[in-house]
Symmetry: D2
Subunit: 346 residues, 4 copies
């Protein structure tokens, strides 16, 4: 496939209120649109509040309906996708649609508060909302304290918290949950420029995405990042001739990345590390034990989220440590070229 020949799907949401292109589960919903492998998708997503937080005076528990949190754009039916295939989604561009993002605390949600699973007898922490100015030129977001006049500047680093396909076993999972189908992994590694690999469970894959973050700390500690609607350009492809991908993977220009999503957090760690051991063994020809040793010295292992209904860990290994390897038959470089060609001509 050449860059010039890449089909393009323009698929915009009606950001003024038509919700027919939004879904709230992975699985359990019909495809909204179909595309061929290799298609450039020029699209957008709402923020996790469905746009209902409009100032620091809005509280999620008041303005949001829990049934309609974290709306996803999709599902996209990928022609030819069958269980066992690997879906590759390259994020050529993730750009905040607005000049402000919002973060909040939510009663009994978050890592440093009693919550619906780590139940306790405490009253909730205060519910508060923070507004961040987003400056796309300067590539910054501006933190503004609520209980003082302090301001701090942080780098803009746009990403999607939620990316996934329909799960196996006929499950339909809330867009608030991450798992082996992807979903609400909330890792800052899902940033502009990377390719995400997802194992296909059902015909057509039924890919959806959303939950844009202008930036996010590792752990998403209070449960909410700098949430914002996004304009997103993806290149979506299908890989047929590789080993099955059991848990979502990511590839950047410089790193290969595995994920695991479950509780307790050490089990999420274990999944991400076992996945990396097996991936490296496959890429290099190392034995399992040799790959275990290599990963033990080479991996970076940041937290993604410790707030959602499953927790997510990632394992990362620099490609420069593994000269001569070529993950997923080079699809990342190929999709990146397609994305750049499209953006250059848009």
């Amino acid at each position: 496939m050449t860059d010039a020949s890449a089909p393009v799907l323009h698929y915009d949401l009606d950001h003024e209120g038509d919700v027919s292109r939004l879904v709230y589960t992975f699985g359990g919903v019909d495809a909204r649109v179909s595309l061929a492998p290799g298609t450039v998708v020029d699209t957008s997503s709402l923020d996790c509040f469905a746009g209902q937080i409009r100032s620091e005076h809005d509280h999620a528990s008041v303005v949001c309906d829990p049934r309609y949190l974290n709306p996803q754009t999709g599902p996209f039916y990928v022609e030819g996708a069958l269980p066992g295939d690997v879906l590759a989604v390259h994020f050529a561009r993730i750009a905040p649609r607005h000049t402000a993002g919002f973060s909040t605390t939510v009663p009994l949600f978050g890592a440093l508060t009693a919550n619906g699973f780590t139940q306790m007898l405490h009253a909730p922490l205060p519910e508060m909302t923070w507004r961040y100015d987003i400056d796309q030129e300067a590539r910054t977001v501006r933190y503004q304290a609520r209980e003082s006049a302090a301001m701090y500047t942080l780098p803009l680093d746009p990403m999607h918290g939620t990316v996934g396909v329909a799960p196996a076993l006929n499950e339909a999972r809330s867009a608030l949950t991450p798992g082996d189908w992807g979903g609400n992994m909330d890792t800052p590694e899902m940033r502009s420029g990377v390719t995400c690999y997802l194992g296909v469970n059902v015909e057509g894959a039924l890919f959806s995405f959303g939950d844009g973050h202008a930036r996010q700390g590792e752990g998403e500690t209070c449960g909410v990042a700098v949430e914002t609607a996004m304009d997103t350009v993806m290149v979506v492809d299908l890989i047929k001739d590789v080993s099955p991908v059991r848990w979502p993977r990511i590839e950047s220009d410089t790193e290969i990345i595995t994920t695991g999503s479950t509780k307790p957090l050490e089990d999420a760690f274990r999944i991400s590390q076992v996945e990396m051991v097996h991936w490296i063994a496959e890429l290099t020809g190392l034995s399992m034990m040799d790959a275990y040793q290599f990963v033990s010295q080479a991996a970076q292992s940041p937290v993604a989220n410790v707030v959602d209904t499953n927790y997510t860990m990632v394992a990362k290994v620099k490609k420069s440590y593994l000269p001569g390897t070529n993950a997923m038959n080079g699809v990342h470089a190929r999709l990146k070229a397609i994305g750049e060609a499209y953006l250059a001509t848009r």
Copy 2:
């Protein structure tokens, strides 16, 4: 205190077999030597195997006595140290003493195997040893596979896995365990150039250190890093006029870092993040809720170890995000200058 006036303590181990300067617990042992705050300590440490692994044909379960694993150099009695004070240990230089390091698997120890706490009915994974060539000029270590001829080169990044003081409550804790006294945290953040802050629990603090790693992946997944004896230059100081430090902290030139060590891993995460929220609130004057929000967007949160008797997480925030703040009254910059002055004249 001026650099020129810094007292110097030369305290070398007898690497040929006198073990009188080695201990295996934090607490429960008498001080070996006393020093004044501000002293430069020019010293060394054995590797975690007490030097008993000498080739890839040595197995830890054969050549090591479990009672004498992870020998620590110390304890150092710091004059004037009282419970509630903060001990500052600046690692001016951590240099591998030898040109080889070793890593191993150990039966029923490690993150991806049944072990003494995550007990299962499996037979152990194979016990194997890997030898790494250490090139201090090139700043690399060379991984050599055991079950093939593959070789990979990784950056040299020397650190100490174990750094701590005597615990509270008259406890004596094995040097294999991390906790609020420090101990076997096994974080690569404890690298050459940083300052570690430890809350003092007993008169004299009774500081010890050891477990040098030529490098380590985040998580120390198989349980063993690239282990090597170290020549280490530290500057040890006492801080009296700051808030108590309940869990070990680290400061580098670019970051402030908190730690938490317990199980499950999400509780280690919670500790490190709560510590960072309170530290940032104190440094900036932000309210607790405002600091919670800031940390949620700003923190990096890598795993340290998921293999020891407690697991360790760290939280990191770039100092550049917090202009105008001055952690621990600037002790890091001061100790760094002392260390550099000493090294320049050695």
Copy 3:
């Protein structure tokens, strides 16, 4: 409602192969049959293997299709059930349909083996099947060792491992998973004679059940109980005038019981205990703190399962400790009387 007037629904499976009355998820499937509150349901269920294990020579990984494990009888549409109501299901009789039950190990499944979430690098434990003779007269099951001639006799104690309703948020959850909708809780407390209370999430409740166990240890340690098809008589009712039930509850003649299903196991414990604190506060008028104290001294807290995709804990308090209280307005005694009347006249 009088016993004599209770409507009766005979709803038998075709145990010879028609699977149209079986489902594999809670949610995501249409009701198979409708019933009025107060109905006696005289029905049956397949075992978790869908009957495919027929001797100790059958292995689950060979004879079972993972998509069709743990078939559930249902869903039953309960007329008038609306979100916020409480569904009461009294198990008047749970009787093994056959004279043999089977248990197995399953590769990479169970509490004392590496598994799909606690991932490790071990090869699976051996896959084996055990046959238990069931003697309904003697009320026993007979354990027969596979690797020796040893035999032991254990009490028959029939129960359903899986009981639940459609989840909230439009989720469809595999029948292998427990959660706040019930599902695969695998607690021996769900035995013949108890009443289960489930919060209704969708119109009609969409109740299903299955996974009969002739008996089960607490924890279901190897992941599989003494599995057997069951003939079951239930009385299904709806409670409209009580506080919402957020997590499944059970009432026996002698105890009130709460459940929590999540990971890690301490969070499942917390949920079950918080639920018990609130239930006791409501039943007795005790303040939250007084109820917390009471539960701390009064509760029994056995494990249910530590093998499924969520782990389940229960908390139990003897009714004799709380004279004068009347859980759920006495529905347990009322449904029990209906069930006994039906069984007496059958």
Copy 4:
């Protein structure tokens, strides 16, 4: 040894304030008294507050010094005890010394509150104290609510929360912590009439005990049971000819019981279950896999504590399920007879 010949050690505390017979760690302290195997020890223990809570108006955070919580009577040096031996402690009688016991909440301690390890940003729950009348004739304790006039009666069931020996690896562990040396397991199974088995780690074993509870719920949810000083008669013996006991075990007239103490709670479960699998295999000659299957159907698995620095689970199997087996060569029956003979003649 005949009952008549059993040596007797009277070892009473000075309950009026001499603390020379009290210790606060397992390990790290010298033996206070020596005894021969087979000795009857007629002794007593303080409550966990060292007697400082005297009414419901006393708060632990005010009247107790954290360094002197949970005082232990001991250590007892058992003549001839060597590492690898098994210490058997039969509790012939555990009788509350007073007519009142106390329970409290403690700020940031307990299962349903943020605490020192599950750190959060909540303010503590209210600190309160409850007084229980203890009626030894009626075998009851009386719960009296603090925020209403409600009263409830619960069975008296005296036990020791803390029983242990010196740990391995020269560790000294706070009496607030449980582990493989025993310690603060807080299981109601450690009741009057049982025999506790502890693996010996150091010469003389250095056994201590304390933390009497008039009764305790499973989990000790608020962190504090019905605490009371105890008059205790034990028979202490040494077993040389059995397999090592790696984690504390208990034997009652009707059950064999294993324990595991760590976090997360599922790992404590795993330890207790693996221990039971191996114990049953040893007692019966069953293979490991056959014993795994048997335990999966036969075990009861209650929580002990989910509040201490490690959590404790127990696994129980009824002896009646295993006719013909004889745990620990019958030491329980033998020590019980000695204890009864002593009590009959006292």
